[in-house]
């Protein structure tokens, strides 16, 4: 076989001999049909590297698909180098031996990685096709892989549980176009789209979210897992920019981010503090970072004392953070952000790990902060025990295109009426996807709210 033919064989079919090429053709034919079944163009099967990624997408294993695909390309390059090396006339035997040694070591390392990721991708594919795990035995050996691929690709009884093309079609159907009027005071969000590109593929994480939140409101942010709650919060505080205009008290959060970042207090889900520092030092350092530099040491200390008083941290001020209880850690985490007296206060599950009494105490404290004219936005998964403390609720839902959408924004009472459900947890269940144990009504509520909002 000529070198060129050999290289083409490796590149297209991952084969170095005639039998391998024949099996490769069968595998690709099966893959072509399988990709089409999942709503992906069949010709992707002909492109080395990309075909692995598309297969992983069909298996619902996109992150694994990236490594699977890259390892495929690297292996291909190594195999091509082997062919070139075997036909090299210029190099000495010793040079060739060295290069072969390096390539072999690389090949072994890549082969191992590829094998593991292939296992993960095909395990995902078996789930999508609702097949038994024993199929993996056929898949793992390169000389039998063509058989399951042909069967799954051409066999009518093998059908995927979901298709990628369904998701794509829904994207256009569910688009709504509106905008919120910008207020001088309070928060105005006009988010068109928040997307992320992963492995050359654009993913829309959030779209069409428009709202105005007046000062002094305590807002509950609801949504199922993966609905984009944290993404939304990061987008409105300018940390992860979206295609949007976010105005806080008349200033643009995006164009003036450096100035505005001190106007937003973001309390993350996990504590994110240095465990081996004392409470007092943690707060003093937070004060140094967050307060303007014209605030003197004495004023800083007074502010720290004031915040410790508000959040009941004075008795433990000399304790190491690691030694605090869960509730104390939460309060310290909130205190760090509260030190700069921000206009917008965002808390991502501040009550996780707290019992009912402690959680309520914490939310009462947040209510007090909102009553001083601040906007407080809170994500919580147990909202009903403290719902009386909130003014408004935002409901985000993952639509059928798996994009986070605004399903509702308004007062608590309006929400109950809109969703025809009394409890907030029931509202979350109503918009959650069926496979997540929900009612799968996200699209309906998204469209209904768009009609209510824009007519």
């Amino acid at each position: 076989m000529s070198v060129a033919l050999k290289m083409i064989g490796i590149a297209l079919l991952d084969a170095t001999d005639v039998l391998g090429a024949l099996l490769g053709v069968l595998y690709l034919a099966g893959l072509w049909k399988l990709l089409e079944k999942s709503g992906v163009k069949g010709w992707w099967a002909l492109i080395p590297g990309a075909r692995d990624y598309q297969l992983a997408r069909c298996a619902g294993r996109e992150p694994e698909g990236r490594v699977f695909s890259v390892s495929g390309v690297v292996m291909l390059v190594i195999e091509l180098l082997f062919v070139l090396l075997g036909n090299s006339k210029a190099a000495t035997i010793e040079e060739i031996a060295n290069q072969v040694l390096v390539l072999t070591v690389l090949l072994i390392a890549v082969l191992f990685v590829r094998w593991i990721y292939m296992l993960r991708v095909f395990a995902g594919l078996l789930n999508v096709y609702n097949l038994r795990k024993r199929w993996l035995w056929l898949v793992l050996a390169s000389y039998t892989r063509w058989l399951p691929m042909l069967l799954w690709g051409f066999g009518k009884k093998y059908q995927p549980e979901w298709k990628l093309e369904d998701i794509k079609a829904e994207l256009a159907r569910l688009a709504t176009h509106g905008s919120a009027t910008v207020m001088d005071e309070g928060l105005t969000v006009n988010l068109e789209e928040r997307s992320a590109t992963e492995f050359f593929q654009k993913k829309v994480l959030l779209r069409d979210i428009h709202m105005t939140i007046p000062q002094g409101r305590m807002v509950l942010l609801l949504g199922g897992s993966g609905a984009g709650k944290t993404t939304y919060l990061n987008a409105i505080n300018g940390y992860e920019k979206a295609k949007a205009e976010v105005m806080l008290n008349g200033s643009n959060m995006y164009t003036q981010y450096k100035k505005m970042q001190y106007e937003v207090g973001f309390v993350p889900q996990s504590e994110m503090m240095r465990g081996k520092d004392t409470v007092l030092n943690t707060l003093l350092d937070a004060a140094k970072l967050r307060l303007p530099r014209d605030v003197g040491a004495r004023q800083r200390r007074e502010r720290v004392d004031e915040v410790m008083e508000i959040f009941g941290l004075k008795p433990v001020r000399h304790n190491l953070v690691d030694k605090l209880s869960g509730g104390q850690k939460k309060r310290l985490s909130i205190s760090m952000e509260f030190i700069s007296n921000p206009s917008l206060f965002i808390l991502d599950e501040p009550d996780s790990g707290l019992d009912g009494v402690m959680a309520r105490e914490l939310f009462v404290q947040l209510r007090k902060i909102a009553d001083t004219g601040k906007i407080v936005i809170v994500i919580t998964h147990t909202p009903d025990r403290v719902i009386d403390l909130f003014d408004d609720v935002i409901v985000l839902a993952k639509d059928s295109s798996r994009t986070g959408r605004l399903a509702f924004y308004g007062s608590i009472e309006q929400a109950r009426e809109f969703f025809q459900r009394d409890r907030m947890e029931q509202i979350v269940k109503s918009v959650n996807r069926k496979e997540e144990g929900g009612d799968g009504l996200a699209d309906e509520f998204v469209m209904k709210y768009a009609e209510v909002q824009y007519g």
């Binding site: 060295n98 008290n249 100035k259 993350p268 994110m272 520092d277 030092n281 303007p292 530099r293 014209d294």
Partner: protein, 390 residues
Amino acid sequence: MAELNKTENARRFHARHRGRGAQVWIYLGKLLRMFVYQSDWKVLPMAALIAGLVGMVIRKKMFLNMEGTLMGAFALVCVCIWNGCFNSIQVICRERDVIKREHRSGMHISSYILAHMIYQFLLCVLQTGVTLYVTKLTGVQYPSEGLITPWLMVDLAISMLLISYASDMLSLWVSTLAKTTTTAMTIMPFVLIFQLVFSGGMLTLPAWTQPLTQFTISNPGLKVIAAQADTNKRPFVTISDMLNKMGDNELNVEITMGQVMDLLTDDEIPTIAKLRQSVISLRLGDTQETPDDSVTVGELLDQIVEDPTLQAHRGNSYTLNITVGKLMDVVGRERLKGFLEEKAAQASYKADYALTEENVISYWMHLILFIFAFAALATVTLEFIDKDKR
């Protein structure tokens, strides 16, 4: 009320916050507190322990001969790299989430890294001091005279500090790349092995891998310590030691008459010279006159050797059964040892290890370049911390 709010908002909006310089001090203070509370201080007794172990191994060899000095230099480089790497390999990845939060609150990454650089520098200074002190205690005989400063200990301290600090910065960079401490500790052995294997001094590397040595801290590290220890001037003792060990081994030496004749007339060989100077009395025939019948063995041997009949047989060869030890005794043990050590040292001479100001300064510069390059890479890498996937 609305007007008041607007004024307050405007005032807050225009307030200036702490800049990069001021933030460095905030983080330096934090790191110094961590030194006490987070048990970072443990790196100092660890450095002493490692130095003690290494010191006990190298004390009888370093600065005494070429091989021992080179091995000792390599051991010191390993200690420095080990100390430096383990100082900082976890410091950033262990608090990655905290950094993300603080970055969001206005922390400058460059200030954070600079604070680490200052803190790690102080750690490395202390570790270098501890290492030199402990190795001296174990009995390593450091010569007193330095090249750049009047004291060799100070010269060596600067080199060891730069090696430790460059390794420290390399690990700091790895710590910014790794998302978790587990990942960092998985990468660490590869970094260490790469540094030690590709130092270019101890292992003979294939030609095509030689360029890789330029990317290791151990390469200029080993060169600078080997140069400062004046390795090239130290005797190369392996061959003479080996000959001593082979003393009882028998040799079947093929020797010609000419070689024996030359040997017997060689005044350079102490044993032969001594023999040749011995005086013997000759009593010729039965004469009673003994005016001046004494003659030296040398004169006698010269007469015999110059005999034309004997000269005609110079090419005749004979087999000589002799042990290595006896042969060395004939040639002169000390003379042979000196000769072999000198010649072997000349053959092993490396321009890279020459004790010159030019060499030492260039290696220091190489290490300083590594320090700043790794610190810059750490800063750039950490600037992307917000891109971490949630």
